[in-house]
Symmetry: C2
Subunit: 156 residues, 2 copies
Amino acid sequence: MKMSGGVEWALHCAVVLSAADRPVPAVRLAELHDVSSSYLAKQLQALSRAGLIRAAQGHAGGYELARPADGITVLDVVEAVDGAQPAFTCTEIRQRGPLATPPEACLRPCPIARTMSVADQAWRAALRAVTVADLAQEVTGDNTDAFTVLRGWLTA
Amino acid sequence: MKMSGGVEWALHCAVVLSAADRPVPAVRLAELHDVSSSYLAKQLQALSRAGLIRAAQGHAGGYELARPADGITVLDVVEAVDGAQPAFTCTEIRQRGPLATPPEACLRPCPIARTMSVADQAWRAALRAVTVADLAQEVTGDNTDAFTVLRGWLTA
DNA sequence: CTTGACTCGGACACAATGAGTCCGAGTAGA
DNA sequence: TCTACTCGGACTCATTGTGTCCGAGTCAAG
Ligand code: FES
Ligand code: FES
């Protein structure tokens, strides 16, 4: 039950990108957070594959959000980086062993798997309810000038 | 975001133990599910350390539930086997880099970490709402004689 | 148009965690 | 007393995540 550590980086990068008005290179984002630029590139590639951010190559290229910030949920970023598969996977062990449940009684999923699925859906719903725009709003809620400072540092 | 595969085994074992009226050895549970007895022993040890099941050694020993089945939640088993630490861990990268947020502005946790925490709590709440007794009830809801068959096989 | 430098993209090693196995200490019964 | 059976922790191997690297492609400037 351990989530990829790059999720934190990706989410912070998404919030930062929502404040930028032009493409930002991966190296710039890396030194902004003081993390490995090579590894951050991998996370950004994952986001790019998922269609959340758009990559521009060549001189003055970089990454920018592909959609408005209020159209990208936290769940989107998490699933892009960490994988969309549910944490719990049922192996159907109830159909194995001497007292195996007959297949005709397994029309519905195992109660245990159902419980896990419900919990997983609740988790996903909580993440889907928050967008990148909400996060940016909450970050810059107290100090609104940090927004402009950040934008200036990105373009410099 | 991958949960330990032994969680499924441990939960099924907990349901089975709720039907037993005497200690059941780990080997018996292993051949019942057709899984590695050595590895299942590790999961049962974790449950024992967490105080969910009680171990009896020696001849005619084995495992039995330490509490009534309706007092053991699914979350208890999951945390015992997979660890109680939350999946997302904040590294406080906002306090690093050239535009680091000053510590006096970090009195409250990062909005991203807060969102993750809310989602984690929702997940845990969903798992805490279901007990082992509920699972057993749901399993034996349709075919009530399977309960007695299982109990007979355990004592044999 | 040429050149150049800058960007992403995927392919390549290393390390940590989980999966699986094993044998010894301890105990209840015969 | 003796035996046989049980758990408990220590050990090894495989898988996945972490971190790094260099080449293909591209845009801007001169
Ligand atoms: S058989 Fe997979 S959870 Fe019950
Ligand atoms: S600093 Fe850890 S989630 Fe924002």
